[in-house]
Amino acid sequence: MGSVIRQTDSFSGGIHIPEYKELTQDQPIEELPVPRQVTVPLLQHLGGPSTPIVKPGDKVSTGQIIAEPSGFISAYIHAPITGTVMKIEEQYHPLGFKSKAIIIKGTEEETFLPLEVPAAPEELTKEQTLGIIKQAGIVGLGGATFPTHVKLSPPPDKNVHTLVINAAECEPYLNVDNRIMIERTEDFMTGIRLIMKLLGVDTCRIGIEDNKPRAIEALEKAAASDEGIYVHVLPTHYPQGGEKQLIYAILKKEVPSGKLPFEVGVVVQNVATVIAIYEAIYLKKPLIDKTLTVSGDNITSPKNVKVRIGTSFSEIIEYCGGPKKANSKIVMGGPMMGFSLFTDQVPAIKGTSGILLFSEEMGTLPPMQPCIYCGRCVEACPMGLTPVLLSKNIRAEQFDQAADLSLMDCIECGCCNYVCPANRPLLQLFKYGKLALRKRKG
């Protein structure tokens, strides 16, 4: 019998932060009306930007492939709406730079082009399943956007024995995975079983934070009949959803520095990715839409919404009633690791899990003061680093010393920055230092 394991122990370090989940945790996912126009960036995943295979003037159906992977680490991109390709040109990407995007103007009528699924789900071979996942353009939807078909093909010499599902959703405000698990429990479980078969494992461990009681209840009921599927209820502590911290909390195994989870026999998948895989295999639907949470202290109606990829942020924000008062900050993602935007005229992409609007009070950061060596950053770091010393080294451009202090092990969670009473730019310095070290390596 699958079981629920309630844990009080977890990983060391980390911080307790306000969650603000109540703003949207009971909001059922609403589907936005199909947009009139979408801007589809060619870079929505880790790796190289995809190569377009359509040109301006082409008519496309919903689900039709419009770009191909450009290398091993790349992904297919599909038309999120039915219409005509207007242009392929440089547009603002939500991450702040300009990059090539395909702009499609929609038509009233919608035609769907399903994926090619050669057999019934139960009869598909491993290669066929991976092929469909690749065809569907699925990437890690927790935000890392690593191509899923690559992640689900670990090297054969690594003895993978457990599938871990990352249902922690530790970022404040976000409720995407939470609502998916409540509203689509059966699809979610089917997806899990599919991935377990694909990987050839008979154990799945779902790691979920204890601030999601309804989802836990739903999972408890659904997993009761499944041997091999365990639900680990973990204490709500940031960054519980960090891959390494999650694996440690559940299996008490540390992924060695510089290595990937399959070193300890584990493959991790996010909840939304599991649903995308289910939809590809069972509904022949490629990745054309994304569920995200619109929240923050400055949005009129916080909601969880499902939007077609390429929908402009401004449309999504308008659907939720727009800002309550003068806006100060828009963040894509969660407040701890998300990106702040300089405009709302950017499209929602595969990695967009949240749109947060902040008012002046919440969007303003306190002034910087001198470091007083209080050591809170050391206590907070979930990777055991010493941010205070690392930042000193990087400021003095002593990148080798920083590398010796394990700068490259930083997971960029932001815990150190959050607790620093002097508001030192710790994470900014680490990102700068990591970039410098990477450039050096060539």
């Binding site: 990983f11 932060i17 306000p18 404040p172 390494k244 992924v255 060695p256 520095s257 510089g258 009129t300 308008e318 727009g322 800002p323 309550k324 003068a326 806006n327 100060s328 900050k329 828009i330 993602g333 407040p335 701890m336 690791m337 998300g338 702040s340 935007l341 300089f342 405009t343 609007l357 902040f358 950061l365 306190p366 003061q369 001198p370 007083i372 060596y373 209080c374 050591g375 050391v378 990777m383 055991g384 680093l385 010493t386 205070v388 010393l389 010796d404 202090l405 394990s406 092990d409 960029e412 932001g414 920055n417 959050y418 607790v419 620093c420 009473p421 002097a422 508001n423 994470l427 900014q428």
Partner: protein
């Protein structure tokens, strides 16, 4: 319906911060010292308050002058100069003239803090540097003049010894042990009696302005622990080491007093003030928990060695200053283990 602004704030993640800031931390420590200030007023009278105010003002003025000189923004609002002023005053006898505390406070801020680069850059505890300077420059004023408290009982003002602090009395009693075993044994019993220990606990005894009332200092220390300004590691390591060393040396003493005398050591002198408020100063103490324990133990060993074998009856200030010098190397070797690696780097 409102449209989104065209000017948006941008920054890299994280976009949240804790509410705590450096000024809040400093002011919490200042607040934690209020019970000790009230105790000094009760036991030593207005003079103690007067000297404290002079010391704080001198600290503030010195900091303003130094920051103006170096064209830095004036930062006295963060409360760190006030803290140095308070601690300097608490570390001198209430009998000293006002210019002593002004000089000591000014020296602490100018030399030990601002010349090193300001808040966060100093290696040594500024208030203790100020006191060390005063002790070196004006030794007779700093060691010979004391006030007895307003409610003193006879044992606190024994006239046959120079100075009236509890540690002075204890030290001279041990010295008398060889020549007058019966008299010194009776003295030890008196010193270790519950009324004597209660006096030490409440603060009804001679000593420096802020160091006498264990009760007031413990209240302040508990406040700091509650507000998570300090952790238990340094105070427990420091006080624990002193207690254990006092206990161990009693094996070799003529008195074999294993409970009251170690307690007497803990409650007298500047130990509680030092262990709770000065050794725990964030800037000059280690950043890791393991480092803090080592720091506290080191302070305890040095302070006890000075008390027993050194020329001064009190070793707390020097013990902290010496251990301050060890902090960079303690930090280097006491780093936490990296996740996914077997060691610290």
């Amino acid at each position: 319906m409102r449209r989104v602004n065209t000017t948006l704030k941008m920054s890299t993640s994280p976009h949240f911060r804790t509410r705590e800031n450096v000024s809040m931390i400093m002011w919490h420590v200042n607040i934690a010292l209020i019970p000790a200030l009230i105790a000094s007023l009760i036991f030593f009278g207005q003079r103690a308050l007067f000297l404290t105010i002079v010391s704080v003002l001198a600290a503030i003025i010195s900091e303003i002058l130094m920051q103006k000189l170096f064209q830095k923004p004036i930062s006295i609002k963060d409360g760190s100069a006030v803290l140095t002023g308070l601690l300097l005053a608490f570390n001198v006898s209430p009998a000293v003239p006002w210019w002593i505390v002004a000089l000591g406070s000014g020296f602490a801020i100018v030399v030990a803090k601002q010349l090193f680069g300001g808040l966060g850059q100093n290696i040594f505890n500024p208030a203790l540097i100020g006191r060390a300077f005063l002790l070196a420059a004006y030794p007779s004023i700093m060691t010979a003049q004391w006030i007895s408290t307003r409610f003193s009982e006879t044992w606190c003002t024994v006239s046959t010894v120079t100075g009236a602090t509890p540690l002075n009395i204890l030290g001279s009693t041990y010295k008398l042990a060889a020549s007058d075993p019966e008299g010194s044994r009776q003295m030890i019993e008196q010193l270790g009696s519950s009324s004597s220990l209660m006096n030490l606990f409440l603060g009804n005894c001679g000593g420096c302005i802020g160091e006498t009332s264990a009760l007031a200092l413990l209240l302040g220390g508990l406040y700091l622990l509650w507000k998570k300004i300090i952790s238990w590691h340094i105070p427990v390591a420091y006080i624990g080491t002193m207690f254990l060393l006092a206990l161990c040396t009693e094996f070799f003493s003529p008195f074999h007093n294993y409970v009251q005398i170690p307690l007497y050591h803990v409650l007298s002198g500047g130990l509680l003030l030092g262990a709770l408020f000065m050794a725990t100063d964030m800037v000059t103490s280690p950043i890791s928990s393991k480092g803090k324990l080592i720091f506290g133990i080191g302070c305890g060993v040095i302070a006890f060695a000075i008390r027993k074998g050194g020329g001064y009856p009190e070793g707390v200030s020097y013990s902290i200053l010496i251990m301050n010098a060890f902090v960079p190397i303690i930090d280097r070797y006491c780093l936490p283990r990296i996740f996914g690696k077997k060691s610290r780097s």
